[in-house]
Symmetry: C2
Subunit: 154 residues, 2 copies
DNA sequence: CACGATTACATTGTGCACAATCTAATCGCC
DNA sequence: GGCGATTAGATTGTGCACAATGTAATCGTG
């Protein structure tokens, strides 16, 4: 199991796959995304598209930059993604009149209506994760700490 | 088994981005991968390529199927990835003589040598995550629980 | 041994992620 | 008003992820 390896604060860092929190994180993230897939397929969405709609449902009309800030995604990801939402008739893109650099993304009626059908999604996912309320809270706390630390250490 | 959950035992599932553990997980995973990038760039690797090398360093000569089982990745991801490792001179691909269906992946000398330089990577990442030993253990436990539950609920 | 089923892998196509580079609109400052 | 710097966004290219489909080798059973 744990031999002589890099250590700090009594923690050991090996090159063994199963020892790595990073891999556990990466695997968990992909497993959850896969669990989302059949649910989101029914809505005609991918997981990142669903995330963009969460932002739009919450805030209404939003510049792409703010969507990127909320989701930590860049234009290279968002520009084509939002164009696909537009092609699907769920979102609209329009330049802000008083600043033509900014593209405001807003919901069509169809995109707004999807919110009702999406209500069941987080419930189903929360259920599938099968964590106790305490573990759920702990996971949120640790992941936020980790994300903040990792971002700050760059 | 823990039974049904939903909003039922005191947890609430909203459509608000910040409430969602799934998003925290997704964001944390990408943040960690980004933190890996500069470290792995020095080795000429991407994160998934690094994961494949972890498996090879640990087990030596491995069929693609087993690499996929260890990393939970399919052939569509692994076939081109391993071909890039081969093109970089780090890995070799050869058919198993007694079963020509199987492709055994093994390390070149150069791929083996990279292990020494990679030792510093998990240490740096563990350091950047900045979790206490207790939180680190808790995170591993919760993520494994979550991954197992989510996979089983499909 | 024949032959359908299975297995291991490859290929194709779509959609993220993200770095690097580019364009056009706006702002700051004189 | 003129002009360099900044800002918002688009584009291009590489590399995952993963579904769907295809192919060749092997196995199982009669």
């Amino acid at each position: 199991m744990s031999g002589s390896r890099g250590a700090r604060d009594g923690q050991e860092y090996s090159l063994l796959l199963d020892d790595q929190l990073c891999f556990a994180l990466y695997a968990a993230s992909r497993a959850v995304t896969q669990r989302y897939r059949p649910l989101l397929d029914d809505l005609g969405l991918t997981y990142p598209q669903y995330l963009v709609l969460l932002v739009l449902w919450e805030y209404g009309s939003v510049p792409i930059k703010e969507i990127g800030a909320a989701l930590q995604l860049d234009y290279g990801t968002l520009t084509p993604l939002i164009k696909r939402l537009e092609a699907a008739g769920l979102a609209r893109r329009e330049r802000r009149p008083d600043d033509e650099r900014t593209v405001l993304v807003s919901l069509t009626d169809e995109g707004g209506d999807l919110r009702v059908r999406a209500r069941a999604v987080p419930v189903a996912i929360g259920d599938a994760m099968g964590l106790s309320p305490e573990d759920h809270r702990e996971a949120m706390r640790i992941l936020r700490t980790l994300t903040a630390q990792v971002a700050a250490s760059g």
